[in-house]
């Protein structure tokens, strides 16, 4: 195979090709700023990846071709099958899964590097040992954390927060143990113990499990985004260890992107990242069983009434939420919008930043249902329009429309930016029941005089409304 081996590892030619590769990543992401260029951007980034992979395969001294082909073959087959079969609603768990295997790869590479270094018996330079330790720990946390996130989103394990008593203490002890082992390994860098490193990977794995298990299903997007940042950083650390500039730059880009997305989501929920990770929010009803007990007066309507209200409006704003994604009602909602547009009603969609199970997830679901990109309005864009809107239809959204966030400074969600549907002339809420949303608090919107409740499954209700409008 020496015919193929034309590039010196760490040589100028290989590095130059790696530079081309990461430049293509940056260009690819830059093209992702607009939906018309984003697809090309993704192809550009993929081309960069192909260059990086081929460059590595051409490095002088590479061997074990049978195993390389085997690994590439298995990975490609799994990737192709999974990606072509996955439903758009399942996108968050797909990203979690891919993120997990990436983190797993980093942890394995770190382990292998430690073994390799020890077997050569040379003194481990700290500037390669420290990145290896970092990569191992973060990679392992990310692998297990992502797998738990995947299992929760896929309903393989209960999505409700699972926490043992004294969870925080256990986590803290684990974290301290991990830090101590890291220090011991670094101090003993003349001959680091492989057993100790494996123990480190195991402890990090347990920590990854314990940190993610107590987090509720609705907070998973934040977790996935954070773990995405972690995997990126661990890849960058592996780049430090392997002196590979492509890994450093690409990993760091992902680290930045994951960090930005995590912070944006936390802001959109008006909570800090540490609050999301450690509070077990939503586990115990914060407001003492908000929905239970006496029922406040509310107006309940059927699909036909809703159809009439909508059909004779001039402008309608649809506010989709998590419940729409769960009910897979995006196509049915599009039917309603189509019927309304046929009658000359202006229909827009108001997308809260955390609607769906991932930031921007609702946009993907609606795009899948062929909703034009121009009709998807972000929160800041639609709120000033609300007072000029005839009917706002809330489908499977709850906390993001709760006026208490604006009016009641004592509310647990006080200060959270909301879509101000109560400003509209009329509000129709399609929801299974009056039960409180994820925040565990009652939604005042349901009891306002201009609000009508339509108690039904989002998908069934939307199909029915579309049919009723068609019959009018």
């Amino acid at each position: 195979m020496s015919l193929l081996a034309v590039l010196k590892p760490g040589g100028d030619a290989a590095t130059a090709l790696y530079i081309v590769a990461f430049s293509l990543f940056i260009i690819g992401i830059k093209q992702g700023t607009h939906p018309t260029t984003a697809k090309r951007g993704n192809l550009i980034a993929a081309a960069g990846m192909a260059i990086a992979v081929v460059t590595t395969l051409l490095l002088d001294g590479m061997g074990n071709w049978g195993l390389i082909v085997l690994g590439l073959g298995i990975g490609t087959a799994v990737g192709v099958i999974a990606s072509t079969r996955v439903q758009m609603t399942e996108m968050p768990q797909m990203v979690a899964l891919y993120n997990g295997v990436g983190g797993g790869a980093v942890a394995l590479i770190a382990w292998s590097e430690i073994r390799h270094g020890i077997s050569i018996g040379e003194d481990f330079p700290l500037d390669s040992l420290i990145p290896i330790i970092f990569a191992g720990v973060i990679g392992s946390v990310s692998f297990w954390g992502s797998n738990i996130a995947f299992a929760k989103l896929q309903d393989l394990i209960p999505t409700r927060p699972i926490a043992a008593p004294g969870q925080q203490v256990i986590n803290a002890v684990l974290l301290i143990a991990i830090v101590v082992i890291c220090v011991v390994l670094a101090v003993d860098h003349q001959s680091p113990s492989q057993g100790l490193f494996i123990l480190l990977l195991v402890l990090a794995a347990i920590l990854g499990n314990l940190v993610v298990l107590p987090i509720g299903g609705a907070d998973m997007p934040v977790v996935i985004s954070l773990l995405n940042a972690f995997t990126g950083l661990s890849a960058a650390a592996a780049g430090f260890a392997l002196d590979n500039v492509a890994l450093i730059v690409a990993g760091t880009l992902v680290g930045s992107s994951g960090t930005i997305l995590t912070m944006e989501m936390a802001t959109a929920m008006n909570r800090s990242v540490s609050n999301i990770l450690f509070s077990g929010f939503g586990g115990a009803p914060a407001a003492g069983g908000g929905g239970g007990g006496e029922e406040k007066p509310h107006v309940s309507i059927g699909a036909q009434d809703a159809a009439i209200k909508l059909a004779y409006a001039d402008s309608v704003v649809i506010v989709p939420g998590y419940g729409l994604a769960v009910a897979q009602a995006q196509h049915a909602i599009k039917e309603v919008a189509d019927e309304l547009e046929k009658r000359g009603v202006t229909v827009n969609y108001a997308i809260h930043p955390v609607a769906g199970r991932m930031p921007g997830h609702m946009n993907v679901l609606l795009a899948e249902a062929d909703v034009a990109y121009e009709n998807l309005k972000e929160m800041e864009e639609i709120n000033p329009e609300m007072s000029r809107t005839d009917v706002a239809v809330v489908v499977g959204a709850n906390d993001v429309t709760n006026p208490a966030a604006k009016n009641d400074p004592d509310s647990p969600i006080a200060g959270m930016p909301i879509i101000e549907v109560s400003e509209a002339q009329e509000v129709i809420v399609i929801k299974r029941s009056l039960s409180p949303g994820f925040a565990g608090i009652d939604n005042d919107l349901f009891y306002e005089p201009n609000t009508s409740m339509l108690f039904a499954d989002a998908k069934a209700a939307a199909s029915e409304i579309a049919a009723e409008i068609g019959n009018l």
């Binding site: 390389i68 192709v80 930043p353 795009a367």
Partner: protein, 115 residues
Amino acid sequence: MSLMTEITIFVLAVFVGFEVISKVPTTLHTPLMSQTNAIHGIVMLGGLIVLGFANDGLEYVIGTIAVAFGAINIVGGFLVTDRMLGMFSRKPKPQSKPASSASRPGAGGSDGGGS
């Protein structure tokens, strides 16, 4: 490469990352996350190097798994992003006709509905 050179690259990449990514609109955040997720599949290069230079049984196993994991991450990540973005670039059927007729004076749409 010296450590300081690598740290320089790292710090610059942090700024480039923040600069480029903060310009992506919320609408496209799911594909963005999916695409950056595919990009960290670059760790497969590490797996390839480990496997390509491996010389004992356990290293073969670790390396092969690492390469397979990396390949899932890369291939799956880019493909699924492509599928998602295909939905955004797909041209919606020309349904804007009735909507634009409604903008005519007299709000013909709702009048027509009333009759």
